[in-house]
Symmetry: D2
């Protein structure tokens, strides 16, 4: 940690701050600059609250050198984490996992048609929302428990593990019992009580990046789960919010190599929420594979014009098949096999 003092700080004030660190067992180095004095603090500073130092009127700013997360940090865990979901493994460098299914579970008929379609095209995990975080209180809120049970039945039928989004603490038991991979949605990425709760299970967690959160904040949210004892975290990027409104979100695929440098956790991409428009999903999906994603999560619907949510971004089954055809070939070139 580096503390830069303001110009003309009295020596005694520097000493006071140096002392506050040495008392915590940290080593302090002073660099006397031309205009600024700077101190470097050596040791584990992850528990230091930088804000209280910034409150000091003689301090100009505080810069962290080390990332504030430990358990999610590749430096202390150099090998890739591989997370078991049902019989699958997510995060292996030579494999690519495709998760597909409807935005919302709407009915048995709908789910079976889509489930059968995506399974045949090569998807290996079935997605489906049962509790839906909708911006408007007047929008379809999901089939809830009925949706979870239908999804579980479909998963068994098509021999696919299932993933669904958990929105609140009071449904945790239901999810632990029925769902193979528990999704924490973008809007809940910083719902710390929920993170702690899923951290107390051993279930695989799919942690979506908040649409306005930095990569560092995302890894700190993963750290909440890891720190509570659950190592089974899979990251899922779905785009961030920017000034550009021509797409629903702005998806920067360089997040894939970047996260792989900073962390050992697997990372998958959600091209559907990123683009918000089915006409863009194929391009973005192929790009994500080429960029090295460990998996994709794609919304597919048998009849998007009648979907109760997110129809605009859902692929029809035949378009999903076409995408899978190309995707498998690109995966091969970068040394991955769709499993």
């Amino acid at each position: 940690m580096i503390i830069t003092f303001k110009k003309d700080v009295p020596a005694i004030e520097v000493e006071k701050i140096k002392k506050s660190f040495s008392e915590k067992g940290l080593t302090v180095n002073l660099i006397q600059g031309t205009d600024f004095n700077v101190i470097g603090i050596v040791g584990d500073t992850s528990k230091i609250d930088t804000s209280s130092y910034e409150a000091n009127p003689y301090v100009d700013h505080v810069t962290r050198v080390a990332a504030p997360y430990k358990l999610a940090n590749r430096i202390y865990h150099p090998e890739d984490s591989i997370i078991k979901v049902g019989n699958l493994q997510i995060g292996a460098r030579d494999e690519l996992i495709i998760i597909a299914g409807p935005c919302s579970v709407e009915s048995r008929e709908q789910l079976w048609e889509i489930g059968s379609g995506v399974k045949n095209a090569g998807a290996s995990v079935l997605r489906g929302g049962a509790y839906k975080p909708r911006t408007s209180p007047y929008a379809f809120q999901g089939l809830q428990t009925e949706g979870i049970l239908l999804l579980k039945e479909a998963g068994a039928q098509f021999k696919m593990p299932i993933v669904s989004e958990l929105m609140s603490l009071d449904k945790l038991d239901e999810f632990v019992e029925h769902v193979d991979l528990i999704q924490i949605g973008a809007r809940n990425m910083q719902n710390y009580e929920l993170l702690k709760a899923v951290g107390n299970t051993k279930k695989p967690i799919l942690l979506k990046r908040g649409f306005s959160n930095t990569i560092e904040e995302w890894l700190l949210s993963a750290e909440y789960i890891l720190n509570n004892g659950n190592p089974n975290v899979i990251l899922c990027e779905r785009g961030i919010r920017t000034f550009e409104s021509a797409t629903r979100s702005t998806l920067d695929l360089s997040v894939i190599p970047l996260v792989k440098k900073k962390s050992h956790l697997p990372i998958i991409i959600d091209p559907s929420h990123a683009s918000g428009n089915w006409e863009l999903v194929e391009s973005v999906s192929l790009a994500a594979i080429a960029a090295g994603a460990d998996g994709l999560m794609i919304e597919v619907h048998n009849h998007p014009e009648a979907a109760l949510s997110d129809g605009a971004q859902s692929l029809k089954i035949n378009n999903f098949e076409r995408l899978m055809g190309k995707g498998k070939k690109i995966a091969e070139i970068i040394g991955r096999k769709v499993v």
Copy 2:
């Protein structure tokens, strides 16, 4: 609602969509353009899922004319809402409410010193965090129930209603019992289960804007609370996230007149989280008063350099007093009295 078709849409496809609306009892008007056909749908479209229409390959885009919120909308509720908090009223055009106190309740000694200081300077509501949403799992997480009880005792002592942040469903009863004004924090603005739960009480709710949410999304979150039967919503702006990192958030005060046009709910400003830097708080606070805010919520600490959270943005008590001196005079000029 306006639907713009792509060029060369077959007439039959336009008819299908027109029919889907008339079957819902809505009136449809066709405008035949030079290059585009457009239909306008008249009636209550707030429950229509626009995404399913955008899924139609013949549709270019869908535009809402009416705001998607009803209960929060000034059009259907022209007079200002005035919300009772303890003996105070928030939202009256000729009054200005100052909420002040520490970021976190840390100890009895700290809270009493700050409480006494802000009361004397003219604040009328006491704030203090007991459950803290911290980005890092290693940061101070708050005194929890002990903090709530201390805050309640301080509120009674200084005759100030109290406000504190609720982070999860399982603490709702505790807050309903002890807290006068329940804060929903920025990170939980779209935690819909929490919104529904506080909507089922009659408690005044301070709904912070998410740091990456649009004004429309914010009013839709208010709508969740109102729609569940609780009319007592106060909006609180605390800045949004942008590319500029010189301040913690970017606070646009034009949100005040804008929200007052769109909604009848009171709006207060949090200059502390917005700027993240105590040296900026006075300027921003005076500006917020001049812009017509119904209130301010300001972080004050007796010893910011030792604060367990947000020290950098906390005013010392003497600086808070100075701000109050100027703020009262500016309030007068725009016809408000600090109560």
Copy 3:
């Protein structure tokens, strides 16, 4: 164009506005809504200033239905534009063009080593900056005319057309004489005098997207060039500015299929400026190819640690070769050949 009136607009005010449009020869359709009145204006509205209508106190908002650009619009020009640069063609659906070279031309030795390296690896256009837009006045500003002449000589030597950035009107003649493809940089995307000036030539123009400009604004800047008589515009995306600071810019590759829907102009991707970090360039480049880019522009340096600008994002020649190896194979899968 759609104009939505405020609630309770007097009929006479609607009439006045309707009349103002009919006097311009446009057809006006009124839709009487439950709460709002809306008028739809049919005809060429591209020259209408919407702001003056928004100034009307009875108008709530104005929405354009048609894109405000005409010449860049695919609707009026359905076939792809293919732009000739030297002996190459940019924009053909089955070809992929690789532009490579140093950020800045620094010396003959540097340029020849890089030029030879990228040519051998399969690049077909040589890039090199001679006039450099640097954020700091104290940074290296480029070799200027000497750089242009060196670049021209290297282009001749390696049989590659050359591209370089034009920063001001007074150098236009120099560029027209010596440079094959004139780049307008991101910071000048809305320098309209420069756009008009290059629009008065017939030179191919590489128009970078401003790092904070919408796709619509970008196409309107292209429209300035096209409207002045120069049809040879190639678009180049280099990422936009967002709250995320872990990368230099945020690059959303869905811009490729999106721009191809909206416009007939070719689009190439600059992965170097987008990521700002050479370790990310390979992933992003492969992704851009998979997403359907018409070309890439990549910064390559023989000795990045000694580069006078943008060393951090420059690939070494061997890394560029590795990227080209994989890139060619991915291009093949989506039906393109590197030429």
Copy 4:
């Protein structure tokens, strides 16, 4: 400057980099951390290109301690700069300057009516655009030389210095001859050739912040002007671009105290472009005064519904008068007088 190395950097690589700095006459301090090695470089590093160090595969990141601008930096110029414009002074702590006038000069009649109106209401500088940077090539581009001459005549008539926007190098002489305060618009904030050119004059320059530029970049653009020998720079903030589209721009007034900390240059606020909506202008203007702005620049029109540009954000004269009435009183409270 601080360089953080990656974990396990070989000692020889640290030595190489240390040597590269000592050869430039800079002092280097090594801090041996638990996981990271860090070096601090002392001396004038403003001319160091950090990117080449980041290119080093052993370097994790480079952080500047000192701001990269010198002449604009308050540290080296502690007293406020006060800039003379005609007979006025901009930047004095006890004065407030109001600039007002139309977006575009449209006609003698329009300009005289507005000029007389704003003069009577208390404005002291007359604004008017003659060369207009319009997003669309089909929009009104300004009266050009005729507009400048009309503005000059109106300025003489009403005894107000005039300000207008310069868009390209070739009109510099015209502006130097006729205009009292030369505006560099937001879109040209990083048009470095234009900055150098106005830096070679002694004219007062009004430098608008680009709508997507950081405060640091803005001050570096000021540095270009100062470094070329012109000390007469006035900064003008007009809001930045964010995800929120309910206003034209997002204006954070904490920029005022922040810029005053970092720089000695005066700062004025443009509430019209910031909000894009005349109904918000009064609130934002009063807020800017309360926040400590050295001046305001406000668009006023005699007939906004017929304005050829930016009608939506233009105040009518009577609304401007009302704003001035309140603004003067708020200015008094913070110790300023409208001159």
